[in-house]
Symmetry: C2
Subunit: 199 residues, 2 copies
């Protein structure tokens, strides 16, 4: 039997530290040293588990992708109505963000501005966009919308808009943030009501 309060193994501590620092301070601005210090791990140990910083970054993005997908899965499992399922995107983001360490905007969009085109983490940025577009298209089709592709594009736009509003909040704290997710959801619901079955 394992003790609940035991210190997690080094790779886990590294990913936890990387998750906080990369997200809060940016990937390029965060040195490997800072991750090691927060994780309480020595350089050699890290390089025994990860090929280098790039691999650590990719693992960080993979973990975020999995967590996010699982969160959306969970919310979807609670919804029956087809339109509710389509709009569940916004509820899932709200739940995802309710966890600690998600106050800033979208980690994938942020990474997209930081990583070069050939970075191993790019794979997860593409996976993020693909998950959103493909799933929204399918859910829109299930809801009987005339043009699922078009619906997916519209909801993605609203989703991205809400994400960016959170990013702006970090640089312009004087401006009240309001409720971008609620706003985006309302706009989406309205759009679905108007354009739903007409095309």
């Amino acid at each position: 039997m394992t003790t609940a309060s035991a210190t997690p193994p080094a790779p886990e501590r590294l990913l936890a530290a990387a998750g906080e620092l990369f997200y809060e301070s940016g990937i390029a601005a965060t040195g490997v040293d800072a991750v090691l210090a927060r994780a309480g791990v020595s350089p050699a140990t890290m390089y025994a588990h990860f090929a280098g910083k790039d691999a650590l970054v990719a693992a960080y993005l993979e973990r975020r992708h999995e967590t996010w997908r699982r969160t959306w899965d969970d919310v979807l499992a609670e919804r029956d109505d087809p339109v509710d399922r389509l709009l569940s995107l916004f509820d899932a983001v709200a739940r995802y963000r309710s966890r600690a360490g998600n106050r800033r905007g979208c980690a994938f969009l942020a990474a997209g501005t930081e990583l070069p085109a050939d970075h191993p983490g790019q794979r997860w940025l593409e996976a993020d966009t693909r998950l959103l577009v493909d799933r929204l298209r399918d859910l829109a089709a299930d809801a009987g919308l005339a043009d699922p592709e078009d619906a997916a594009a519209t909801l993605l736009l609203l989703y991205d808009g809400a994400m960016n509003r959170f990013a702006r909040a970090a640089t312009t704290p004087s401006l009240p943030v309001g409720d971008p997710l609620g706003r985006a959801r309302d706009l989406a619901a309205e759009w679905v009501g108007t354009h739903g079955r007409t095309g």
Copy 2:
């Protein structure tokens, strides 16, 4: 009389080079060396005109802010109808992006993920958000909308959504980009029509 094809002075060449590299490759990922090489300027000359990389970054953001504001001003000067003026945001972005070197997403949102909170360039990120929110609020009021603040928040969300769609295009080239600005403009026009004078 000055010759038209004369080489611009060093500070101008530096800003031009910085503008391309910072925008295309990211601020943190772009070394001063790369800017110097592209500008054809020696390190000492650069440091004679800019206190350091941070100052160069701030100047880069200031220039982008001024160019963008001027572009929007120009478009506004061509519009009379109050609703056209409110929606001119999307036309202005389209014009701004039509110039070379603006294929990626919003430089200010990108910078927000890269710069630390105390960076001198933060001033221009805040200025960007302020310009958008304040101007949209005023234009919404001019258009007689019941809740200008609310209208500004909605249009900002749509604007940010379109910007992010361009950012995603860089990481997921397989997905057709479509016309995010046109989509955002249509959604905005529809919203204004529906929520216009009712609140």
